[in-house]
Amino acid sequence: MKYAYYPGCSLSGTGLEYNISTQAVAPLLGIELCELPDWSCCGASSAHLQDHTLALALPARNAALGEEQGLSLAIPCAACLSRSKAAEHAVKTSEDMRAQIESLIDRPYQATYPVKSILEIFIDAGLDTLKENIIKPLTGLKVASYYGCLQARPTDFMDVDDPENPQTIDTIVAALGAEPVSWSHKTECCGNSHPIAYPEVGGPLVNRILEQAEKSGADCIVCACPMCLGNLDMRQKALGKKRGRPFNLPVFYFTQLMGLALNLRPKKLGLKKHFISPIPLLSKKDLLKRIKIKKVKNKPADTPVPASESTETPTPNPDNKKGGPA
């Protein structure tokens, strides 16, 4: 499947590892991501506070560019996704709004190709395809899937499986061989930009999520939003100090975990870009090493080696340790 890839601004800055891991994983699952030419900022957290129409027109422009190519947008960032879906919904439900938006962006926009989250796209590609390609199951890793607000709400236009207890990330985590924990704060708000501007408001919000994840017995948190990851990862040190007991919960993008299970090099997944380093956890769980795949001769080169064959021989290779980031 081919999509117009819309990384959005965060993914070239704070969410770089989301960007590289997404682009690394997608082709392995038969998903073609072609970056949308001339994409612009979706306005995310600021535009809708200023001007309703502008806040819809900004993301509509990108979706309209995709539409010109006959492609759906593939969006990793939850905030971009939310704004784009809001624009799509507005255009579909109000002729009047559509006319306003079209005149602002100077091009037609019919919302013919649904904008999609990268999460949705991976799910659509089929968990079976994913499972078939797994080389290194993430056995023994207990994961708290965190969706935040924007992935699951508002239900008017975010077609989420269940707004109170969503399962999409959990099913991917389970498919990767890790263990999704059942916990209560999957969709609690992390405070968005408040932990930066008003730490006294945002801090407690992040704190609650971290504490609940800790209590659920998870080793780490996995999410699908650069803003959430930023808050949950970056604040741990300060919040740990405040409560007198450090937090140590690495926070991943789900695409990073996918990449690990698909045997990609940690470097390709940006695993070193986190404040709370996941490396100790991953090496403790023996998940850092790459599995060597024997090239089977006498077979046409383009026949992929069945994953099951290679996982059957997970001969630990001490040399490989060097290859991984220390």
Partner: protein
């Protein structure tokens, strides 16, 4: 010469505010056939009606148009009025210039013009009206009450006391309904069983009441005064005549661990069971699904221990058909399933329970013998949080409506927690506190002032569990809108005041017996204010929570009212029927039979017509008798809906009072 009188009503200011009534009456005078026209402030009042009667006499009017409110409101009033003025009651037409004009428009001139058109049409129609004669049908003097909750029991007792026979059909093994499960009742806190069980006994011993337990209504045919009802007696596998109700079978039954419906699954029951000790009738039934004999073919212990030889494994469902003059529907309500609330744990947290489950936990004869213990570990909860409006007043997830009883029963529950557990805390999250009943506000205040119940105004956004075993607690996260703050409350148990809902089969049941239901599936009364216990189907009445959420005092009052309506009907030997029915012009009827399946009341059938053919015809010799089939309308069954008339290809069917000629005259009058 036909002489029409036009009477324009102001309805106080309801109409006159938007319609120039004087101008309207004045203009009507110029219409063809109108001999007299006037207006008055309240046409339905005594002076108004006298005005109509006097005008009939004085001006020799032979037909009348009243321009006023909807005919659903006062058509009957004005029919009676002209009847006593000496006219056939059907020589009346109503021009609805209130609901269909003044209430929905604001421009006075335009509204007056529209009212003029409406009056025009009514005059054109009334000129074509014919005198319609009423007919009479006999009334079968026996009543059926469906549903044996407090509503059904009360209605049955009230009808039976006047001397008519009543059958009380209940689908569970015992009558009693929800009230039997409740511990104490607000606002007096008398024990529910103490006021209910004597009534249950009265019903079972009343010479005029037959309780038909473990049965359901399968089909209702016929019409007011003569309903033919098919009742399915479900196989109970116990001969209720032979059974003495000793209870030995239940005691010896080896399958004892079946969740008890009566205990809201907080307790267990055997496979051969009576739902509760005070059940009426106190005859057990076998739950086939869970009975060891039915599952494995071996056991029959109950049959062996029964000294009366009452157990009969060969028992089968049985259909009986009985004729009734009137029916009371009292099928009650069910409760909203809180497992739909994801943020309250989807029903997965054992210690998040419903109000009815709480009733069983405080009930002296309940699974914990009246000691409040939380279900997860049977320990006594100290902090109990109550959440109101779960599924009520929640457009997103539940119902728009208010369930009416919850504010009061939650106040009751919180008081009971504080009363029974001394060092406890009872905290209620609420949106509003609604106590509109006699002594209700006082009851709620007593809870706050004397028992120290805490009220927090705001919705709960989430409940989550923390800790294991004895340390397991629930965290209730909500907003205190008076403080403007998020609050987190530790709770050992949370009680949800879940919405009262129609029975899950309410819509299907309504269709089966031919009554209407509203957008929420509660059964519809004929008029929200003036006919609160009647349905739109003559002879079928409503009582209790099947019509809308209500508490016991309102339920009992409504049951009494329904009984009075039934008695008024049964006290007549025959009753007058509405002459607005479909009529077949047999000359035109081709016997195609299209009208037969269209009729929702099964009122049309074929009948043979024998006629002599005159003159020369292609298909046979003249002067010969030929037989042909034509449609025939049963006036008792016909409700005058008109569905058949529009479907008749030959135009042979006409609805009396709404003939094609009358309708066309109305339409023509507009041009």
């Amino acid at each position: 010469m036909k002489k029409v009188g036009v009477f324009v009503c102001h309805c106080g200011t309801n109409i006159s505010q938007t319609v120039h009534c004087e101008k309207l009456a004045e203009a009507a005078k110029t219409l063809p056939g109108v001999a007299f026209s006037t207006e008055y402030k309240y046409m339905c009042s005594d002076p108004g009606q006298t005005m109509i009667k006097e005008a009939i006499a004085e001006h020799g009017l032979d037909r009348v148009v009243v321009a006023a409110c909807s005919p659903r409101m006062h058509e009957t009033t004005f029919r009676k009025c002209i009847d006593s003025g000496g006219l056939n009651p059907y020589m009346l037409e109503i021009a609805n210039i209130r609901e269909q004009c003044s209430w929905v428009h604001s421009d006075k001139d335009k509204a007056t013009a529209k009212a003029g058109d409406l009056v025009n049409m009514a005059v054109a129609k009334v000129l074509k009206n014919e005198q319609l004669p009423s007919s009479f049908i006999p009334v079968h003097k026996r009543a059926l009450v469906i549903g044996g909750g407090i509503a059904g029991i009360q209605a049955a007792l009230d009808i039976a006391d006047t001397g008519y026979h009543v059958d009380l059909v209940e689908r569970e093994p015992s009558i009693g309904g929800k009230m039997a499960q409740i511990d104490k009742t607000f606002p007096t806190m008398d024990c529910s069983a103490c006021i209910l069980t004597p009534k249950m006994v009265d019903a079972s011993q009343h010479p005029n009441i037959t309780i038909i337990p473990y049965s359901e209504v399968e089909k209702v045919d016929g019409y007011v005064g003569n309903f033919d009802v098919t009742i399915r007696r479900k196989a109970s596998y116990v001969d209720s005549v032979k059974c003495t109700g000793c209870g030995l079978c239940s005691e010896k039954c080896p399958s004892k661990k079946i969740p008890s419906e009566f205990e809201c699954n907080l307790g267990t029951r055997p496979a051969i069971y009576s739902p509760f000790p005070q059940a009426i009738p106190n005859k057990p039934v076998i739950d086939r699904e869970n009975c060891r004999y039915f599952k494995t073919g071996k056991c029959k212990i109950c049959a062996r221990v029964c000294t009366a030889d009452a157990v009969n494994f060969e028992d089968q469902d049985e259909m009986v058909q009985i004729r009734y003059g009137a029916i009371v529907v009292a099928t009650g309500y069910t409760l909203y399933d809180h497992s739909q609330y994801g943020e309250y744990g989807y029903g997965h947290y054992k210690d998040v329970i419903s109000g009815l489950e709480f009733e069983r936990l405080v009930n002296a004869s309940g699974p914990t013998m009246g000691k409040i213990k939380r279900p997860s570990d049977n320990t006594e909860p100290k902090n109990v949080v109550f959440i109101k409006c779960v599924g009520s007043r929640d457009k997103a997830r539940g119902h728009d409506y208010c369930s009416r009883a919850c504010c009061m029963y939650t106040a009751k529950h919180a008081t009971m927690v504080r009363d029974k557990i001394k060092d406890s805390q009872a905290i209620i999250f609420y949106m509003d506190i609604r106590t509109p009943g006699k002594n209700y506000e006082e009851f709620y205040l007593r809870g706050v002032e004397e028992y120290g119940v805490t009220y927090v105004r705001g919705r709960v956004s989430r409940i989550y569990e923390e800790g294991e075993g004895e340390n397991r607690k629930l965290i209730v996260q909500g907003e205190d809108t008076l403080l403007g703050k998020q609050v987190f409350v530790d709770a050992d148990m949370v009680v949800l005041a879940t919405a009262m809902e129609p029975q899950p089969d309410a819509a299907g049941f309504a269709r089966k017996i031919g009554i209407s239901y509203d957008q929420n599936n509660f059964f519809s009364e004929a008029h929200p204010k003036l006919r609160p216990v009647e349905t739109l189907s003559a002879g079928i009445y409503l009582a209790g929570a099947c019509q809308g959420p209500k508490d016991i005092p309102d339920t009992v009052a409504q049951a009494g009212a329904a009984a009075a309506k039934v008695v008024a009907l049964l006290s007549k030997d025959e009753m007058e029927t509405e002459p607005i029915v479909a009529k077949v012009d047999t000359d035109r009827c081709s016997g195609c039979g299209f009208c037969i399946p269209i009729c929702p009341y099964k009122a049309i059938s074929f009948t043979d017509l024998t006629e002599r053919v005159h003159g020369s015809v292609a298909w046979g010799p003249t002067g010969k008798e030929v037989k042909r089939q034509v449609a025939n309308v049963n006036n008792g069954l016909c409700q005058g809906c008109g569905a058949c008339t529009v479907n008749c290809r030959a135009g042979a069917l006409d609805l009396l009072g709404f003939t094609n000629e009358q309708i066309l005259a109305e339409v023509d009058s507009l041009w």
